[in-house]
Symmetry: C2
Subunit: 219 residues, 2 copies
Amino acid sequence: MSNVKVKIALADDHTLFRKGMISLIQMVNNSHEILFEADNGIEVQHKIDPLSLPDIMLIDVNMPVMDGYATVDWLKLHHPSVKVLVVSMIQDEESIMRMIKLGVKGYLSKDVEPEELKNAIAAITSKGFYYTDYITGKLVHSLQQEEDYAQKDALIPLNAKEKEFIKMACSEFTYAEIAQRMNLSPKTIDGYRLSVFEKLGVKSRVGLAIYALRNGMAR
Amino acid sequence: MSNVKVKIALADDHTLFRKGMISLIQMVNNSHEILFEADNGIEVQHKIDPLSLPDIMLIDVNMPVMDGYATVDWLKLHHPSVKVLVVSMIQDEESIMRMIKLGVKGYLSKDVEPEELKNAIAAITSKGFYYTDYITGKLVHSLQQEEDYAQKDALIPLNAKEKEFIKMACSEFTYAEIAQRMNLSPKTIDGYRLSVFEKLGVKSRVGLAIYALRNGMAR
DNA sequence: AAAAAAAACAGGGAAAACCCTGTAAAAATT
DNA sequence: AATTTTTACAGGGTTTTCCCTGTTTTTTTT
């Protein structure tokens, strides 16, 4: 650990919890400096000093006025160098994924041991992130869900021409232009249109395009 | 660790590497049983015994005839209980993400210390997965890339009604139905259509839907 | 209060998409 | 070789989308 103090700031609407965290952080050793604390995102915006940005910000998800998501989003845009460690009671996959996608460097439960909080801050300082097994598990699970969802198409038998037609339909070409490009008559294309509409259960070309994009049949 | 041996199988086209791995695994302690080894995915399909499935399969990405992806995909479908640990020289984000999405429980480089291989097998056996910091980093990075890509829309000034229209247009409603639902005349909707077409540079409703989905303006 | 800008609406027409029913040729089955 | 299935294609009509040129009403600015 270097001789420069790690600068930390906190955003959490529960004063008692916030004060507790601060005392915990300072108890560990004196290599951490608390820059400021805030009740919510708006206060963060006012209290943050561009000339002395925190290295790490501990942020809660649930806060009044401006919640954790909005706060992280704002930080990402205005002070991207600030590394965010979420500390929240909320542990559901959706919140975790949303925060990870916003670029947070760690996500802890509020009932972890003080030791783990220390480890998290140390890891984020040294290698840039700290994801527990729980978080990693959620992350991977979510990815696989997406993928599984995107593969029900294998259940619907579509031949090569139909798949090609679907890809072509996900564009601004007219059916007449698609016919040209596939060397088929517009009437044949109309036949493919009808058959894929029925197979996929869509009622319009827009519906088809949406279905295809959502299910990875076209990019 | 229980008294039942952990059953392991390997798929890698490099015989020497495979043999080395086996000796390493058996050297650790005698709690591991090697069920079989295979040159590629096809051999896995033939050698695997549904009555005595491996707990963990070590699989390489690059293999002739049937590669790692196809092998994992096959295992996922036919023997989902088999936990896959990828061991490969390939370490790029795309391969890693593809394998993770296929549900592999770990991904190691071929030049890790034997100690880490041991840890990985132990972790997968006990808690179900083993992702190194490197893999976790790639995972999170890939997620954030996706999200960043999906947010350039803020650059184009669209008012609330236009955004609502775009969402509605990403459906199978006709413009007349959209007009009803937004309590506006079809002719007004036609005006919104023209203005968003121009702002987003699209030429048809399908083009609009594709643009909106790709840029996160509609789900 | 007047001027300017934005939002809502309209007529009308051409092009594209949609949706029937039906036929001819090629390919696969038997 | 005969039959069935699949693929390719057509006529013709309805609806929807697209696109042009406007007017009226509401909101914002000065």
